[in-house]
Symmetry: D2
Subunit: 344 residues, 4 copies
């Protein structure tokens, strides 16, 4: 860390800063410039947050140099991590296509949608049994009954399944049914839930929070990794912005931004990011071209009757067309959609 000292700091203040730095177990390295004194703080920065040094009188800025995450960093693991969900691989050139309805509604809808997305080439089936809804009066999900339906339909079509968990008390229950746990955007900094998921042996799909920076996202992944669970897949799903013609703003640059500093796979969810089916195909193609390890899309056979987020779902035939495009694109870029029936 580097401390920039106020121009009007007294010598006594500077001495106090130096001693405080030593007390915290660091080695101070003082440079006096024409207009400013700066103090290099040598040692393991993750032990102390920059803010605590900022509170010492006379300190004007405390600039961190090292990244605050370790286990998620490229320094910790140089190669691209590959996460297995069932036999489907995500990362290292293997693409995931996670598709399904927003919420599990009935066995029939789930079965119909699964049949279509399987035929199109999706390799993981999604559906929410516990739904985070802005309104307490909106449909809150089917709970365990939904989990059972999702499991049955996943097995019928030989697709591993992913479903969201919202409450630490649901983690055990959800783990009995699912192949992968989803942590939603609203829970990206629900730290107790992150820890609980970090203690399971299920891969975790961690969605970026609506106002989370890329660094925040990686710090939340670090919470899961620090508990011993190494199988984390990140998901860019748009952030809040002033643009009012889309539901969120898809930060596509987050894909190479994450890949430059972190070994975990990252996929893109254009359904939540845009909230508009007319933009989903272009954003899915862009995600694959940007280097994402997969795409997460909501598909519904009758969006107008969907109990949640109907208007952002693709119809089955639109999904089919899109998958054709994505396969061509993946091929041109030497990547491929993974399959659940492949041998190791």
């Amino acid at each position: 860390m580097i401390l920039v000292i106020r121009p009007d700091a007294s010598l006594a203040q500077i001495e106090h800063i130096v001693e405080r730095v030593k007390e915290l177990g660091y080695t101070p390295h003082v440079s006096r410039g024409e207009s400013r004194t700066i103090i290099g703080v040598i040692g393991d920065e993750t032990k102390t947050s920059p803010e605590s040094l900022l509170a010492i009188p006379g300190v004007e800025q405390a600039l961190p140099i090292m990244k605050p995450f370790k286990l998620a960093s490229r320094e910790f693991s140089k190669g691209d991590s590959v996460v297995h969900v069932g036999k489907v691989r995500i990362g290292g050139g293997n693409l995931a296509m996670i598709a399904g309805p927003c919420a599990v509604e009935t066995y029939e809808v789930m079965d119909t949608v699964a049949k279509y997305v399987k035929a199109g080439g999706a390799n993981i089936l999604r559906g929410g049994a516990f739904k985070p809804r802005t309104s307490p009066y909106a449909f809150q999900g089917m709970g365990e009954d939904g989990l059972k339906i999702l499991r049955d339909v996943g097995d019928k079509y030989d697709m591993p399944i992913v479903t969201e968990v919202m409450d630490p008390r649901q983690v055990d229950l959800v783990c009995r049914y699912t192949d992968m746990i989803q942590l939603g955007a609203r829970n990206m900094q629900n730290f107790d839930l992150l820890k609980e998921c970090g203690r399971t042996n299920k891969p975790v799909l961690l969605k970026r929070g609506m106002s989370a920076t890329v660094k925040d996202l990686l710090m939340s992944a670090e919470y899961i990794l620090a508990e011993g669970n190494k199988d984390v897949v990140l998901c860019e799903r748009g952030v809040r912005s002033f643009e009012d013609s889309t539901r969120n703003m898809l930060d596509m640059a987050a894909v190479p931004n994450v890949k430059g500093q972190c070994h975990l796979p990252i996929i893109v969810d254009p359904s939540h990011a845009t909230g508009r089916p007319d933009l989903i195909p272009a954003m899915s193609r862009a995600a694959v071209a940007a280097g994402a390890d997969g795409v997460h899309i909501e598909v519904h056979n009758c969006p107008e009757k969907a109990l949640s987020d109907g208007p952002q779902a693709l119809l089955p035939h639109q999904f089919l067309d899109l998958m054709g495009d994505l396969r061509r694109l993946a091929e041109a870029l030497n990547r491929r959609f993974s399959r659940n029936d492949e041998e190791e």
Copy 2:
């Protein structure tokens, strides 16, 4: 709700929309204009979200007319609600000054800070025992030991206490010690936690999420009210923005904005909103002048040794000066800081 129909929608599509509206229990009211057809959807809008109608082919826009919250609205309760925390009143001209360190650290620090803020005129004591930290390697709070210290010190100085809860599994424990439960910004849409707090008999301090709109905040309050707990105090604490010289952007207009449509008290937290002690006094004065029902400030006797958020804390003497200003201002506006020893 109003449905705007696409200019190229067929008659069959319009008929289908009208039938679907009826199926959902609404009365459709069709107006054909020169360039557009619009359909008024008459009935209780809170039963259906606009998005589900937006998914019907031929619908271009679905515009909600009614507010999506009920119990929190001025229509439900015309006057200003007054929430009691101990004997301290918040709302209806009664101001809260919630002060204390970010985290409970030791009995000694808590005792020292409490003595000072009590002397300055704070009426509620705060301190975190469970801390939401961006990094898994940062101090996570003292847990139950911290709750005990906070309770003891609150009793010693005759101040009701408020402390944060992060996990539904902690709610019972926290309620055994605290007078008011705080729900932090990161948990504003932790819906299971909202419900759990809604089932207690403790007043709840609900902080606005970092990217929550005012409507989102009121919807989260509605979650608590809908479970039967009427004692909710809202808190504006800044939202994420591009401005990088402050920690967040304090949306001061949220105060009159909330008051115009909601009967619940709202206070302002300039400590988290700005992250800068040099801005806290001006923002506290502005909050009172804007009509807020109180202020929430972090105070620490030695910010450089604080285990959390030290640099945004006021020193005791700064707090004392500020309280003098705020009392004069409150008087000029015919309001007053409530006391814990006053008779009903």
Copy 3:
């Protein structure tokens, strides 16, 4: 337009609203619902802004239905417009690659960079002679001397050129040298400058403002079109956001979002959008995959000596590699980079 009437509006107020709507030349269409009255306002909405109706007492919301732009809309021109810059075509499957240094610095640098980008396959040469700089003490551009260098080098390599204009008084001068005028992000709502460029016969590259919505961008294009200049190319170059690891946030979804409602070509500038050379290749590929009509990239043979924006420039060999990728991608998507030597 639709007016939503306040629930407490009096009959006299409603009558007044109806009369005011008639006065403005519209036909009112009143629907009384259970809880609200709504008034459809039939007629040409572009004559009156919704806000003026919102100011009538008793009106709660004024909801526009029609798009506020005409000449830029798909309704006005169904097909994709193709803009010619020299003989290079932009739009309708023809891709532009606009490349060059941020600022024109010397003949030598311009010549070197032009040689490289031409060899790589760029079809339009860029360079700034008038530079908008945040600081008055930073390099402000070479002015007319820079225009001459850019013209000479463009001619030498048979590349049409584009350069920025910042002041209506410079438009004539710049038009004497350039093939295309660039309007920068900071001037997207410099309406006098838009009008001035609309009166020239040069194609205009209009960059999105840092906090402009897609609708704002199209309204600014409308300013140019309304003056008679039909050759407008839009450019997404990132918007301001809370994410602090990139210079701006590239709103990739703006590409299909614009294309759905507007016939003009749109290109993407990943240099300014990200400010990071390590992210430019991925974002360029994503732009082409998303359907953009071209890419705008800064290239410099010695970024550390660049007088402006050096750190966001690609090196010549990086540019060469990227062009290889983009050509493969374009081919897979049935599109191609246009050339300046092709016959009509």
Copy 4:
């Protein structure tokens, strides 16, 4: 400035960086830490932007230490600057109340509004003759005819006037009529216009851009000051955000934030910041309590017939009530509204 070197930088790269720093006229100061090398760059930072150093291979971060503005800084001028508009003073405890309609429409409207705001205690009269409008089809202002009306009415009521200039070619014309030039939010980074206004002898009211940081605002003020014009008044008028219930988000903390580092007066415009008359009084009170040097409010006697921004205007009687509140508040804070008839 401080350069943080990449952990994998070679010795040759570090040597090259050191030489490049010297070439640029700075003294390098190298510190080798356990995991990182940092290089202090000693000298006048305003000569080189951090970005140019960032482009040197091996440099990971370039951290500026000094503020990039000089003439606007507290270091340059310790006391609070007082700007005179006519005989009205702004700053140093003297408050401005700038009021009037959004646009000059007719002599009658201007006269009526001026009579009311003068009676209420406004000390500067505003009205736009050149209007920046998002749509080319909206009312663009009366031009010189509007300037004449504003001048006549200002003289009649003995109020200095302020009006907006949008184009460098209008500056001379506007200066012939007005007492103060307004630079609107959309032109905050119209650098040629800033320079042109900096060459006049009229005080300038500089509004913050919709996505400008506080630092950006001060850099734009620096453009005017650097041309020799010392009379700049800053204006916070809200920035773009995701909150959709107000027109912009009023960044009230900008007031003390500016005052801490800059000697220029700063006022607040709650009309544009909120776009809602119901929020203007609370935000005006808050502005005065936060330490602003004045308030800028739109007032119209018949908002529903206003040609621009009617719905955000106060009615004359609302303005009168508000002024009563503000005077009481100012008195409690030892400040006062300045008058045009006072002796120096």
